[in-house]
């Protein structure tokens, strides 16, 4: 309200932003602060009492809680590692193969590989549980048919294998996403660049490593951060396959399952929304830290090429 003649107020900006801001505030920002508030309270004699960072102190100070939390976090990292090591390279390789002009039935392959991503995790979880079932599954039979029956194990029931198996199921489901993004990035590389390389004698695999890969790096960065956020929020597939107890022996426990059991309770264990919110806040902060590191340290240093 100063009398200085400032730039003309541009009301239309606020008007156009309003719908998105309102929806986002109602559905994301308010619940986020609601969770933060819940995590700072505790139920004492049926009353919600402010305890500051008491819940966080319990979470990290009490071995009953901290062990479960660190185990979940460690498993989240392993889940992320499997995706980065398996899903994204395979996605890139598939995209590179799809962009080979001589390939036939491209649309078919693209669709077939992408379809699992649009399936519900419930379908994927139950389908794979059945496929890998030692009793009714087709996995033991298939391995038997090629004489490798001795390699079969009830993977989903063994502590050493269960989490990796679930991670690989998730990879199977979502490999279509990096494939599509990279495929789009590869298509946007102008032919002139590749032709110029060709004239200089860079063809085939060399062209991929020297020309295409550097050009799609920003896309790979975006995929990595999407994978990171998705994997640290992981819960659904573990829940459908192993239940809220993250069997066997909590070996598939991720922060999401711990949060679910704590917040809502499980069987005879009553829910504790306050501790649950504390865990949810930690998940949020960890993901926030990861995204921040990416945005400020990696994204800003990445070289972009304009054509």
């Amino acid at each position: 309200m100063s009398s200085e003649a400032g730039p003309k107020r541009r009301w239309h900006i606020a008007v156009f932003l309003a719908p998105a801001v309102l929806v986002y505030t109602a559905l994301m920002i308010l619940p986020l602060f609601g969770t933060l508030k819940l995590s700072l309270y505790q139920n004492v004699d049926q009353q919600q009492v402010f305890v500051g960072f008491g819940n966080f102190a319990t979470l990290f100070g009490d071995p009953n809680w901290s062990e479960a939390f660190w185990r979940g976090l460690k498993n989240n990292f392993w889940f992320f590692f499997i995706h980065m090591a398996v899903q994204n390279p395979i996605g890139i390789a598939l995209a590179a193969m799809l962009s080979v002009p001589a390939l036939r039935f491209k649309a078919f392959y693209r669709t077939a590989i992408f379809i699992p991503t649009i399936l519900s995790f419930v379908i994927v979880g139950f389908a794979w549980k059945l496929i890998l079932s030692p009793l009714w599954g087709i996995a033991p039979g298939l391995l038997d048919a090629v004489g490798l029956k001795h390699l079969f194990k009830p993977w989903l029931g063994l502590e050493d294998y269960a989490l990796t198996t679930i991670a690989l199921i998730s990879v199977w489901q979502y490999v279509g996403i990096p494939m599509m993004l990279i495929y789009a990035a590869l298509l946007s590389i102008p032919d002139e660049v590749l032709e110029a390389g060709e004239i200089d004698g860079i063809t085939g695999m060399k062209a991929f490593w020297k020309i295409k890969l550097p050009l799609i790096l920003p896309s790979i960065g975006i995929i990595s951060i999407l994978t990171f956020v998705g994997n640290f929020n992981a819960f659904d597939l573990v829940y459908t396959i192993e239940g809220a107890m993250a069997a066997p022996n909590f070996s598939t426990e991720v922060m999401g399952t711990l949060m679910f059991r704590t917040f809502f309770g499980h069987q005879t264990q009553p829910g504790d929304p306050n501790m649950g919110s504390a865990i949810a806040m930690m998940m949020f902060l960890i993901i926030l830290a990861g995204v921040t590191v990416y945005l400020f340290l990696i994204q800003t240093r990445m070289r972009r090429y304009q054509f």
Binding site: G157, N249, Q269
Partner: protein
């Protein structure tokens, strides 16, 4: 003329509708027994409605795993039904303390039940009872009679006979000796540990000693059941580690397994699925020992204090406590045995066998149901995981006992002697 006719018709309908509203009360039952929906709709509710005109009853179950949390959310929001199916012990006790269950101590119909039956839904000092007991479930072993005949086997009486029998079935190879998996973990605890363990800690005696702090979970009577469980792995099917609860049920009803460590609630499902004859034997006894069974008070019904139809709901609860209901319920749902003192006969032979154990064996509830299931870590959850671990062979019985005692010590102080 036509308009007046229409108006009159409207008025008549409205009046009629109003009259129906005034007379009829609809009661809604909250429950986790979604498996029993048909039985409630076809047998139990019609029987009640026939003798109590003016009260309509709707059975509205939720999925078992979500029941407690969903119900609590509904109660807090004030949208829960009039009648609430009560889980035993702490789950319901907390609801009572929060004022979500009405005190029913003044209901005369409670005299139809013994103290053990009421213990599941009374305060720790027994001063108030807030749910009308409905049924308990009994653990034991259900077996395939045809398979036993084929192999020339008899029901085992002692632990040694039991394992000799399992060895023989395994040697023969045509049946999987026992159908159980560890993927869901709870079966290992309830159908494993609580089932065969009761005889070691001598039922109620050992359970009360534990609550009083007179024994520890590292004592032999609490570790020995784990030792027995550690032998089970070899008798379960290939890949039992990834075998889920429905897998085990199917394995048995398809006739591929000889013995099923069971809870009596399986009876009606098995009757419908299996096309062979079934028998049941109680957990085998120790040499020279007595027979003990896990006879766990499981299900009861209470009243939501916020219900607008308390009168009608109390009428329904009176009926739930009556011998008529006891007989109807136990026969409609063989395997859920009424806790009523009334003498009832069961038509289902398998159910009759299992309920007969109440006479020949000592009954006890599951070890961590009362008082010890409170606190974090929750002993109930812990004994699922330790039992499954011991069967999988990833934990020794001694480690399991130590783990349980550590968990208990972390929050429980026994009352001063």
């Amino acid at each position: 003329m036509r308009a007046t006719g229409l108006a009159a018709a409207f008025a008549a309908t409205a009046a009629l509708g109003g009259a129906v509203w005034a007379q009829e009360v609809t009661l809604t039952i909250e429950s986790w027994r979604n498996d029993d929906l048909k039985i409630w709709q076809e047998k139990i509710i019609p029987a009640f409605e026939a003798s109590h005109p003016g009260i309509k009853v709707v059975f509205a179950p939720t999925a078992p795993a979500q029941y407690n949390s969903a119900l609590n959310a509904k109660l807090e929001a004030g949208t829960a039904g009039d009648l609430i199916t009560c889980r035993p012990f702490d789950g319901s006790l907390q609801m009572f303390q929060k004022g979500y269950l009405e005190d029913l101590s003044d209901m005369e119909v409670l005299n139809n039940f013994g103290p053990v039956a009421k213990s599941g839904w009374s305060t720790d000092d027994g001063s108030a009872t807030y749910c009308i007991p409905m049924a308990s479930v009994i653990h034991g072993f259900i077996y395939n009679k045809d398979a036993f005949e084929e192999l020339g086997l008899e029901e085992p009486k002692t632990v040694d006979e039991f394992y000799a029998l399992l060895d023989r079935i395994k040697e023969d190879g045509s049946y999987i000796p026992m159908a159980m998996g560890t993927a869901d973990e709870w079966e290992a605890a309830t159908m494993g540990y609580a089932n065969i363990g009761t005889k070691y800690w001598k039922g109620e005696e050992g359970r009360k000693a534990l609550i009083a702090g007179k024994s520890k979970l590292t004592d032999p009577e609490w570790v020995e059941p784990y030792r027995e469980l550690s032998r089970w792995g070899q008798y379960l099917g290939d890949g039992f580690e990834a075998q889920s609860y429905p897998d085990s049920q199917n394995l048995f009803t398809l006739g591929r397994a000889a013995i099923y460590p069971a809870g009596s609630w399986e009876i009606s499902g098995f009757n419908a699925q299996a096309d062979f004859e079934m028998g049941a034997f109680p957990p085998p006894v120790l040499p020279g020992g007595e027979c003990y069974i896990s006879d766990h008070v499981d299900i009861a019904m209470g009243l939501n204090p916020a219900s607008p139809n308390k009168e009608a709901a109390r009428t329904f609860l009176e009926w739930v406590g009556s011998p008529e209901f006891a007989s109807l319920y136990s026969n409609a749902l063989p395997g859920f045995f009424s806790l009523s003192n009334a003498d009832i006969t069961l038509e289902d032979p398998l159910a009759q066998t299992m309920v007969g154990w109440r006479k020949s064996c000592n009954s006890s509830i599951r070890p961590y149901a009362q008082i010890l299931g409170r606190g974090t870590p929750n002993l109930h959850t812990e004994y699922w995981v330790t039992s499954a671990n011991v069967i999988r062979g990833t934990m020794t019985p001694e480690e399991a006992g130590q783990h349980m005692q550590d968990a208990l010590d972390s929050w429980y102080t026994p009352p001063a002697q």
